[in-house]
Point group: D2
Amino acid sequence: MIPRYSRPQMTAIWTPENRFRIWFEIEAHATEALGELGVVPKSAAKALWDWWATNPAIDVAAIDAIEAVTKHDVIAFLTWVAEQVGDEARFMHQGMTSSDVLDTALAVQLAQASDLLLADIDALLAAIERRAFEHKMTPTIGRSHGIHAEPVTFGLKLAEAYAEFQRNRVRLVAARADIATCAISGAVGTFANIDPSVEAHVAAKLGLAVEPVSTQVIPRDRHAMFFATLGVIASSIERLATEVRHLQRTEVLEAEEYFSPGQKGSSAMPHKRNPVLTENLTGLARMVRGYVTPALENVALWHERDISHSSVERYIGPDATITLDFALARLTGVVDKLLVYPARMQKNLDRMGGLVHSQRVLLALTQAGFSREASYALVQRNAMKVWESDGELSLLELLKADPEVTLSDEALAENFDLGHHLKHVETIFGRVFGRS
Amino acid sequence: MIPRYSRPQMTAIWTPENRFRIWFEIEAHATEALGELGVVPKSAAKALWDWWATNPAIDVAAIDAIEAVTKHDVIAFLTWVAEQVGDEARFMHQGMTSSDVLDTALAVQLAQASDLLLADIDALLAAIERRAFEHKMTPTIGRSHGIHAEPVTFGLKLAEAYAEFQRNRVRLVAARADIATCAISGAVGTFANIDPSVEAHVAAKLGLAVEPVSTQVIPRDRHAMFFATLGVIASSIERLATEVRHLQRTEVLEAEEYFSPGQKGSSAMPHKRNPVLTENLTGLARMVRGYVTPALENVALWHERDISHSSVERYIGPDATITLDFALARLTGVVDKLLVYPARMQKNLDRMGGLVHSQRVLLALTQAGFSREASYALVQRNAMKVWESDGELSLLELLKADPEVTLSDEALAENFDLGHHLKHVETIFGRVFGRS
Amino acid sequence: MIPRYSRPQMTAIWTPENRFRIWFEIEAHATEALGELGVVPKSAAKALWDWWATNPAIDVAAIDAIEAVTKHDVIAFLTWVAEQVGDEARFMHQGMTSSDVLDTALAVQLAQASDLLLADIDALLAAIERRAFEHKMTPTIGRSHGIHAEPVTFGLKLAEAYAEFQRNRVRLVAARADIATCAISGAVGTFANIDPSVEAHVAAKLGLAVEPVSTQVIPRDRHAMFFATLGVIASSIERLATEVRHLQRTEVLEAEEYFSPGQKGSSAMPHKRNPVLTENLTGLARMVRGYVTPALENVALWHERDISHSSVERYIGPDATITLDFALARLTGVVDKLLVYPARMQKNLDRMGGLVHSQRVLLALTQAGFSREASYALVQRNAMKVWESDGELSLLELLKADPEVTLSDEALAENFDLGHHLKHVETIFGRVFGRS
Amino acid sequence: MIPRYSRPQMTAIWTPENRFRIWFEIEAHATEALGELGVVPKSAAKALWDWWATNPAIDVAAIDAIEAVTKHDVIAFLTWVAEQVGDEARFMHQGMTSSDVLDTALAVQLAQASDLLLADIDALLAAIERRAFEHKMTPTIGRSHGIHAEPVTFGLKLAEAYAEFQRNRVRLVAARADIATCAISGAVGTFANIDPSVEAHVAAKLGLAVEPVSTQVIPRDRHAMFFATLGVIASSIERLATEVRHLQRTEVLEAEEYFSPGQKGSSAMPHKRNPVLTENLTGLARMVRGYVTPALENVALWHERDISHSSVERYIGPDATITLDFALARLTGVVDKLLVYPARMQKNLDRMGGLVHSQRVLLALTQAGFSREASYALVQRNAMKVWESDGELSLLELLKADPEVTLSDEALAENFDLGHHLKHVETIFGRVFGRS
């Protein structure tokens, strides 16, 4: 966890305090269910909840001190709670195993983290949508391979990003469901010493699904899928960040990250305005992706469980969710405040002497009876002249002057209309946003 | 693609022949739709389909030879088709771009691959289910950290695997939906030269969804999610393979891969029977996981597209699906024919002198009024003696002889009953299989 | 292995024929050494080498057919050789284990592959060096964050690439040494049934080092380091490829991949010249990097060995080396034939109205007595005007007209000399190439 | 950085204080060299060093507060230093760019981290060596595929680990050299505003090599190689950790992690002693490996540099080195205090009824004139009986009783001597440790 790439709400989820609070709730709910079953006195749960109602502070240092002796975190926690609550606390954790607490608590934390991430995506989607409609009809050149291709609009670029993050939202909802399960099944998952109804009770209270079959631990394919999904979302962040970085290049300069008054781009070159936020996002995406493989390697635990996954999750649980939360929020800010330069977009569109319309001419020639190959050759020989002139020559004028091109000047000119390219923008917006 | 790790049906999907067949169908369906729109003569599609009805062989070498000159695969293919079909073929590909064909064809191939993989998982699930019910009540020791914990049944181990692959099936269905889209949207996805209805027609004919917004290419977050899902499935394969490897260890030997008569385990040591299939599966899982990161790196293409994803997909499209198909089938064979040794399981269960029942004693002492700490200390000091005797001493006998343990002999013995551990097996089977 | 990304020499290393030839040589050399020790008759090695001298074809299909029965590749090979050589062949493989042959053969293959890769790097270095000196003094803008910074030369860019691949060469030499070891140590590496002198003999004959301690297998940290090194080299390829892709962007166009006459850039847009080779290299780099993690996961084999590494190596042995060989050769071709446009470089350099000289002015002001902060503010306020004019205004003229800038016009103009930036090019070339 | 997996010395390297101290030293050394050149007054460096000699505290909070305004870390630092030192400080950083400071400082930090890691490896090597000699002749079964193969000694297992970490030491020394370079070359690496002698001076003072050619930044292939090397070392840690985990399995129990008196293995099962340290190391290895790919992705920065690498390094710089430092120290502790059980090793060795000697019998039969195939068949049919008896039958007795086995009882028995397997232990120890 890097403070500068962290936001407080997500960070709070991963504090010891929050973890211990969840542990307590699991234990207390379980004790309640055990009381209903008559396994422990009903007074036990009451004692726990009565204490909890005093809103006690969690003394993390005290718990850590106990753990330093017992070398076992859940026992240390139970011991500390017992010190606070008194004799009734000995009924806690009856028939349970540490992992019942640890794994269910992790499920709660990951579900909490997912909820923040979903809210982040919603905010990002809202920002993208606003800017997309703002620039729905702002023409700009579409580029494949970094080379001018044909016109699009800046709104279309954002519509694509919107659709991508909509997909990511759906994926994250599925990933959240995958990890939001509760296991209270005892030492090796057999419910040997605890009734399945306890699990059902705790699950219901915590908003989790019951884990159908656990083996002391909740199976780690669930977590692998969760972190893999975060890796996909991070890669989408990188994609949009890369787009901004390209647009901000000196020679392109069709858009820029917002540049605040006090900001200095370089200690040496005062004129510089660098796309540092999106470069930063590119790096953060690498990190979130880097956590996918350890999560995948965590799946193949030995027999009913080993604890090798635990250290991995101490890192990637916080690091992946905190980083992604920060990155989504940063990207939202970038999109929200992005400086967009339509005039420069138009200038760039025009700089190629009309080459971006070559395909339409090609089609027109084919329609007029030329073979595809002949059409291609005719267009290409004129296009190459424009290309080599660096846009000084005009494709339209060259075509008009080419004796083998038998189309009339009017018929030729008709192919150089930007409107051809924008006529389906509404259609696409309708598909993506459900409105246009 | 490694022949020894490949099966013919999956391999066939990735042959040039299959790819060209899909290309043809995309082009012919598109020409048909263009004919309906009046953009091209209706005779064009008819000519294409008439030729196709002759079930023509695809001359891959001829197409490759053309590509060697044009350095463009789709143009080479179109040229070859034109040579076969004649003049009407010039109407093919009107307003389309190569990626319309390439990406939609990849979607078809990945959907075909998904269908095989889903069938593989179904076969695996069937094998696991059969063996799970066969051994529903076969007792065996559950192990955490590789150390004996408490009893489970061999059927429960398989139930866990069943639930895991059920989850993988759900994930794969979602991943299939993610990649099964059709884009026929032209040079930069604007439909500048092709009507969206063409896309809708082709999508419907090929059983694909319409890509809401494409940018010459179908966005690669879809493929990233697909390959990430394969990586999760591969990790689940590794988990079950690792279980078998552990069970086959000389000292454990509770199960073994089937050993065929002609097979030699070692050129030097004729007695050896090695778990080579599951070790192999462990390696194959590493490979399928290794393809996840390149797929994630493919997402951030430049602007409307660059072609860096293409080489990656030429590798991982076949390699990931072929390897996973092989691995799933191999794992199904391992499960199906696994030699299971219940007698050895029982022997291992008994070898610890009853230590596996320690938790029940602990609970019984707590119920009898001992504090948790006192109970723990009483059990542990006797348990340690058993442990240090390597199972020669009996925990039950030691407890009976311990003067501080105030439970009667009968009350103590009652905790050493295996039935306690198996009483919820039916419950878990019901959850997992919907029957018990 | 993807044929289009493969070259014949590297591919030949990974054929069954080459593998079986190496196996034979290992066995024959070992038999020779065993003969010297008197363990087997000297006639045995003679029989083997006599047969080998007839330059026999390796019947891969026959060996595969035997393996289909024995399910053991080395036994199948030995059986086939025995069929060819006759009775004396029974002395082969005395006291050896399959891995002695397999692992030592892999070492030979990886050493052969390394030699080709080293030759590839040498060819690349030669191409870079030639172009670097050709453009040693060709001015071009240096960019940080994609934004114009200060002038460099195109030769300097190539000098950087040269130094990077020199480092990669050193790393590959070390990686080659890491994997080029011979182990002939028997079933678990104890030389129980074979004298260490056999290993020494085979190692010397094959140009390998003796593995100090093996455990049936050569330890896989060696291979992990080897493939990790290939991953680093691939990343350097991506770096230079990315540079070319950026330079070829329509708005930049300072360099282009060579465009052959018959080539078509797009089926739709005949004017397009796309950096497809370097985009392809970007994808290939992702693949070679993707093989690093499986190689790292191969290290932790169980006890003296398990065979999980084997399937991984069947993929990545060929795939990583063949792909990297192809990529290095392709990059060499790109560098060798790269179209470089100095006029466009100069035009881009000039387009910012002199902003690239802002730092020199800043320093001159500081030298003239202004505080750093004051200097910065003076330069920045004029620089921002130039920036906002899109290079129409001139920084020099604005500074001359700024009353608070107390430097004389001559003193100001002195800071706008390109020579300042190029005065240490020779120094750097001397460092990198050992000549300038 | 996870506190529980961190040690203070390594953590101290990554504190802001340490970073700012290194920054100061770079700036002061550079100012000194600039003074020698006459670019700035010699008094400037003196003023800096005089202040430094007062051993001033670094006010991190104050620097952070300035950065919150300037959004530039180096400018914030310089501003703060200027506030402390006064007017002479304005000569600092003349002609330098932020990255000169940042990258050189990172080189110093990574070199410091490398020195700690090298010391860690030395401590680990010492522990392994001590235990290796302690158990040089302790017989234990060698296992391939988890199946008993032939005898080795426990010392041999450790000798293998020693050799592996010796290799890792060599690799780390090379990796340290790769990253320990100094670049003070200005805005785009041209020394336009700073003389190369400044770089040479700073490099010498800091114990770094001069970076031959930099581009504002030190090239990231160096860091990629560094982190890849850490990934290999981590994988070796996993290997040895996995060995311990296997040896501690209940059924094997040939060695155990040290179990301290206060420790509780399980909240539920008081008899459990789990290999939690080595399982933890397995997870930590996954993390360190996970940092390799982001480091590789950092190589391909855009043009002379972008800043995407920076956020990645803020994570993996500390996380990879701190985690690996902790893991090496933990592994050293495990090895140092490992409980080794020779009696159990012998018991396990004997449990297979002599099957571990089967290869020697096979060789003896071959020597006696049987064909390899006939020998194999004779041994295998008896070996199978032993196998199926679970070690109750004796291979030697069965062979004696087999009429087709024509060797005398004495000749047969001679092959069942453990001494055969241990006769080259000294040789191997000599190779590995240079003494035996």
